[in-house]
């Protein structure tokens, strides 16, 4: 306990900035938020699809899906299923077995 007692108690409180003191509520720190975007529309002056800030998209498997079907939709070539498999080896043990609800990363 410090000389004034209250000081020791305050040391255990979360750090707040000036605006926190004003509102009386701690404000969360969003400085580590990551984000990005991608579009089906081309960028201005380009013919192809817009460049994406994210290297991969996410796809949630639905009933009836297979890696080759997803590759066909993603790349227009079902033979590129291995590209998706390689990117998701942590969640796909057998490339012939994927499950509805599984979230897969689709490399660009």
């Amino acid at each position: 306990m410090g000389i004034f007692g209250k000081d020791d108690k305050d040391k255990n409180q979360p750090q707040t900035n000036f605006s926190d003191v004003q509102s009386g509520k701690p404000r969360p720190d969003f400085s580590d938020v990551q984000g990005g975007s991608s579009s089906t529309a081309p960028r201005p002056g380009q013919g192809g699809p817009a460049a994406t800030a994210a290297p991969m998209n996410t796809y949630v498997v639905v009933k009836g899906d297979s890696l080759s079907k997803i590759a066909q939709r993603a790349y227009g070539d079902g033979n590129k299923w291995r590209k998706i498999y390689e990117a998701n080896k942590d969640v796909i043990k057998d490339p012939d077995l994927i499950y509805p609800g599984q979230s897969l990363r689709i490399p660009e």
Binding site: V33, Q34, Y59
Partner: protein, 150 residues
């Protein structure tokens, strides 16, 4: 008396002056070589959705407005119309308006297009209410609210 007469003449004199100025500077006649109007206004946001994932067409494949702290949050913006260059932005805010993230992208759509924005936070999202406001060329074009809870 003289002052009153002058005051009475003022509207008349103003009308004459206006007529003269109009006659002196007639409006330009439409030129057949005038550039076509910009097509920027033709693009409009028709839908905004949020969810946990997007498909290859950048549309939400797992729609929800309730997320867990470690999930990536996606917003898919559907636009219609054509433009040689339009700016789409996603302005993510928390609770009372604290800015979480602001992202912009330039697109040149021709017809229906889908643009996705996503955010993630390695340390996990604080619980509470969030909002994403989509802006097209700087003007608000749609808002979606969602919440994060454990």
């Amino acid at each position: 008396m003289h002052r009153n007469a002058r005051a009475a003449l003022l509207p008349f004199l103003a009308a004459v002056a206006f007529a003269c100025s109009k006659a002196a500077a007639p409006p330009p006649s439409p030129s057949p070589y005038a550039p076509p109007p910009t097509t920027m206004a033709a693009v409009r946001v028709v839908d905004v959705e949020v969810g946990r994932a997007v498909d290859m067409d950048k549309r939400i494949s797992d729609k929800t407005d309730s997320f867990k702290p470690m999930e990536t949050i996606y917003a898919s913006v559907t636009t219609e119309g054509s433009s040689p260059g339009a700016t789409l932005a996603a302005h993510w805010t928390y609770q009372d308006g604290q800015v979480v993230k602001h992202d912009e992208t330039s697109v040149a759509p021709s017809g229906t297009a889908h643009t996705e924005f996503h955010i993630s936070k390695p340390g996990g999202w604080p619980e509470g209410d969030y909002k994403v406001e989509v802006m097209l060329n700087g003007a608000s074009a749609g808002t979606k609210s969602f919440k994060v809870s454990k």
